[in-house]
Subunit: 119 residues, 2 copies
Amino acid sequence: MIVSHMEQYSQQLNDVFHALADPTRRAVLRQLGKSPASISDLAEPFDMALPSFMKHIRLLEDSGLIRTRKEGRVRTCVIEKKQFAVAEAWLTAQRTLWEARTDRLEQFVTATQPKGKLK
Amino acid sequence: MIVSHMEQYSQQLNDVFHALADPTRRAVLRQLGKSPASISDLAEPFDMALPSFMKHIRLLEDSGLIRTRKEGRVRTCVIEKKQFAVAEAWLTAQRTLWEARTDRLEQFVTATQPKGKLK
């Protein structure tokens, strides 16, 4: 199956925003923003069985927001800043649309303003 | 039930990011970024039954990313910029964490650099 760039990008946005839509996953990302950490350290603050926690880690890894690597018996997680930029860029693009609209409105108001002061 | 501000904020982030995790809903938001529109105009480009489309609209409305209002027989949708800021602010806060870390690392490197040039 041939998947276009647009479809790949759309799927990336689906995965990233879905990954961000959960408080446990956001807490993990916040923690990894401070420093890389092992899965057991990351799991520690949560009252959650390890298999459930691992599902969150795998979903984060599949979304591209984190990488994990195994060193001996410890799996370390690292944040992947590039993938955050995908979500940020989409939000910024929306803002650009609104601001273009606001600018056009201002130009219209300025262009149609009467020259003299109202008395 | 008493819900804390933190829990309310967390629920808002869940709802906003979940709303953004779907290509139909993102396309609707992009369209509404250009101008307000009726539900039938918004539905037009999609090969989707109206009840399915309405679920997306309701989810967007529940997330706070759009408002809708009925004027006569037409329901018009308007984007709610404030709620985008909730998602943007969260992403910006993460970036601030990394950048603080990078700054600390740079200070460390600068502080521990030898005074003279290496020969």
